[in-house]
């Protein structure tokens, strides 16, 4: 592995899903074949890249050989590499799930699916704020298409609403990016970071605009209202990708803008605390609304709001530079483990829907008897979302709370802990109904292959909790450092 040029790994990571997308447009009937091949190649490349980063540190590449500020840079740090690997693995499982007869997804599903995967990988690598905007556009268009492919007029309405929010978010983000270029003459994150040591009015306005734009795309409170309908309307494989990864990519970019782009700016404490407040509101509000849902997919969609809230907490919890790395690892662990768990749960919900013909909570009584493996996987995913040991979600929550207490910000430990209670309340209700005595025989049979895939995704989120040391040490590679408290 030593001799492999990092270019090859990086080129395959983005190139494989893009090539698959082209082939899926040209030969749609074989869409599932292209998707499986592309995600398998991407997984292999992601493993190579992660191993290389583990040994030699961050991968830095100048596209076209043009160095910054003229050209665009890729920078794959530890967390970025793990998120690319997560994307590849989740996408491969979702593709396999979606390719399973008798409910194989139609040819139209595969181009947006593959372009979405490529856009996510591009976002996790990009080190250029304008390029981030372009990749976000590709991700949003593909996501809206996946939602619109859901069933009936409600899906079209949800997709249209999502499209309008995504466009408003994109324009706001672009305005901020434009201000950064106009004010500082560069789009490269490293160069911007140095220039933004004295951000002035231009820099602060740009940060506000980019934050609002990305918040809309990441469904941060109070810009979250589009998410539940959109994520619940998409076909199950689409929902899995959207809820597990698409929202997370915007969040990852948001963390990078604050913690890398503005790392040397004198970011005031109240700004950090208000971002924490937004995160806490999302945790509580998502939990409260999820408790009121009577449909499984909507319940899962609302629970994403809680998880999004945890990740935003990374920014205020990083205020004390001594605990920045801890908070970064905690946030990274939420991202990675939630991706696996939520993909498993949305696919599981899709199977219940296929078997029962609906996903109304009161009528899935006894589902566990008909499809025990799926409900077992669903429960494991739930353990992860609640943050119970031994899941990745537990490790994540532990690290975030530790960062809060060590950094003297005990008040953020309250919503972090309360989020788990809310999540437990509604997930226990759903699981209890499914496991209760009832007429499981009314359910249609589900493909065994799909059951196994869902279980494997759920187990991955559990493995992260059982063996957290290695992923956490990779996440620390290239983790951002800042000097917010310093004078400009």
């Amino acid at each position: 592995m030593e001799g492999i040029d990092p270019w090859w790994a990086a080129a395959v990571i983005v190139g494989a899903p893009l090539t698959g997308g082209v082939l899926a447009i040209l030969w749609g009937a074989l869409g599932h074949v292209w998707a499986l091949a592309a995600t398998a190649a991407m997984t292999a490349a992601a493993v190579v890249a992660t191993a290389r980063i583990g040994r030699h540190g961050v991968i830095h590449l100048a596209l076209g050989g043009w160095s910054a500020p003229l050209g665009i840079h890729w920078r794959i740090d530890g967390l970025g590499a793990l998120l690319i690997l997560t994307t590849a693995l989740v996408a491969m499982a979702v593709a396999w799930f979606a390719a399973s007869p008798p409910r194989r997804m139609p040819p139209a599903f595969w181009p947006p699916f593959l372009f979405e995967v490529a856009a996510l990988a591009a976002l996790f690598m990009s080190w250029d704020v304008f390029n981030v905007y372009v990749a976000l556009e590709l991700a949003s268009l593909a996501a809206v298409t996946l939602v619109a492919q859901g069933h009936g007029k409600a899906a079209v309405a949800a997709a249209l609403r999502y499209l309008l929010v995504a466009l408003a978010g994109a324009i706001t983000t672009l305005l901020g990016v434009g201000l950064l270029y106009a004010g500082f003459g560069t789009l490269d994150l490293s160069i911007l970071s140095r220039a933004l040591a004295g951000p002035g009015l231009v820099g602060w306005l740009a940060l506000a605009l980019i934050t609002v734009g990305l918040a809309a795309k990441a469904a941060l409170f109070p810009l979250h209202t589009w998410l539940p309908a959109a994520h619940a309307s998409a076909p199950a494989p689409g929902s899995a990708l959207l809820s597990a990864l698409v929202v997370e990519a915007s969040l990852f970019v948001l963390l990078r803008v604050w913690m890398v782009g503005f790392a040397h700016a004198p970011v005031p404490g109240p700004a950090l605390q208000s971002l924490g407040l937004i995160g806490a509101a999302g945790i509580v509000w998502g939990g409260l609304l999820a408790m009121r849902q009577r449909r499984l997919k909507l319940l899962l969609a609302f629970s994403t709001l809680t998880q999004v809230g945890y990740v935003v907490m990374v920014v205020p919890l990083s205020a004390d530079p001594r605990w920045t790395e801890l908070a970064w690892q905690g946030g990274g662990m939420v991202l990675v483990s939630h991706a696996f768990a939520k993909a498993a749960m949305f696919l599981g919900a899709g199977m219940i829907m296929d078997a029962a013909g609906h996903d109304r909570l009161e009528n899935i009584r006894g589902a566990a008897h008909a499809m025990p493996m799926t409900l077992f996987a669903f429960a494991i995913g739930g353990i992860n979302l609640i943050g119970l040991p031994p899941s990745g979600g537990f490790v994540a929550k532990w690290l975030l709370i530790e960062a809060a207490l060590n950094g003297g910000q005990w008040w953020w430990a309250v919503p972090l802990a309360a989020g788990g209670l809310f999540t437990a309340a509604y997930l226990f209700r759903a699981v209890a109904v499914a496991f209760s005595a009832g007429d499981g025989g009314a359910l249609a049979a589900v493909p065994r292959r799909q059951e196994v895939l869902v279980l494997m995704l759920a187990l991955a989120s559990l493995l992260l909790g059982l063996f957290p040391a290695q992923p956490l040490s990779v996440m620390a590679i290239g983790a951002p450092t800042h000097s917010w408290s310093a004078e400009p």
Binding site: P69, Q149, G185
Partner: protein, 311 residues
């Protein structure tokens, strides 16, 4: 006051007024016409700002194609709406105040911007290495080729998404063959093709390039669709799909060969650089035209009575 500001001040004033009319008018058709005229004035504004590349793109996409899409959408049968809702004036007023305040802050910041030349000097210095002499083409196809690749991907995906959602092949409604329109199309379309070819070739050294050429070619194609002389690229035929995605595919293939040929993704060997750029631009021109024609064809098909859940 110099001669330039005699043009600029009325131009700016009219643009603001048209923008207001475009969203305040009671009738959709009036709003659409105001928006189209606003587009025409925007072309002049870009020319006054010394950005002919943007002006050409604005003329083709912002005004030409968007105008066609708007008018086509207005011509489609719409469900009966229960009167014009009086809405919530308080919320609207609040939004207007917020927008004005935001705009004022933005203007204040823009007026205080330091005089930076951005990356102009760096572009000028490295441009010879790309083989092209137009800085815009150098940025789009060499320095930031990766952005352009993804943008073309967005366009191809938009068409594929539209095809997927429209279900069956969109069949534009047959237009009544109007002899005047027919004669117009037969004269204007060859001219459009000629202009597109020139813009593609010119892109290497002066304002022009694949986006401008592609939109001009696309608009020519749209005229053929509107007059019923031709159809858009067909999603059910292999060559229709290849036309739409071919430019992206070629760009991607050349880009992926980069690590082997020139040591980096999307890098071109210096001796072939200018030829590869022109080749990619030629393919992009055709694909951009095909994408735009497909989008218009999709919209026309969706506007047909009895069409499925399209668009």
């Amino acid at each position: 006051m110099n001669a330039g500001s005699l043009v600029d001040i009325p131009l700016a004033g009219m643009m603001v007024w048209l923008a207001w009319r475009a969203q305040a008018g009671p009738e959709p058709i009036g709003a659409a016409l105001c928006f189209i005229v606003l587009g025409l004035l925007t072309i002049l504004a870009w020319l006054r700002l010394g950005a002919p590349d943007v002006a050409i793109a604005e003329a083709a996409v912002g005004t030409g194609l968007t105008g066609v899409l708007l008018l086509e959408a207005l011509a489609a049968p719409r469900p009966e709406r229960p009167g014009r809702s009086t809405g919530v004036p308080a919320a609207r007023r609040l939004l207007a105040v917020a927008a004005l305040a935001g705009g004022a802050v933005l203007v204040a910041v823009l007026l205080r911007l330091p005089e930076t030349s951005g990356l102009h000097a760096a572009v000028r210095e490295r441009l010879p290495a790309t083989g092209v002499s137009s800085p815009v083409t150098g940025v789009l196809l060499a320095f930031r080729a990766y952005d352009t690749l993804l943008e073309i991907g967005v366009l191809a995906l938009a068409v594929a998404a539209g095809w997927g959602l429209a279900g069956e092949a969109p069949r534009p409604r047959p237009m009544s063959r109007d002899p005047v329109l027919d004669a117009f199309a037969r004269r204007i379309v060859p001219l459009g093709v000629l202009v597109a070819g020139y813009l593609w070739w010119a892109g290497g050294s002066r304002p022009g390039g694949a986006f401008q050429a592609g939109t001009v070619l696309g608009v020519a194609w749209v005229i053929l669709i509107l007059t019923g002389l031709e159809e858009g690229p067909s999603p059910t035929r292999w060559h229709g799909r290849a036309l739409v995605v071919g430019g992206f595919a070629l760009f991607l293939a050349i880009g992926l060969a980069g690590p082997a040929m020139a040591g980096a993704l999307l890098a071109f060997p210096s001796e072939w650089s200018v030829n590869l750029i022109l080749l990619i631009e030629a393919a992009l021109t055709i694909s951009i035209a095909a994408c735009l024609a497909s989008l218009v064809a999709l919209l026309m098909a969706a506007g047909e009575p009895g069409a499925g859940a399209g668009g």
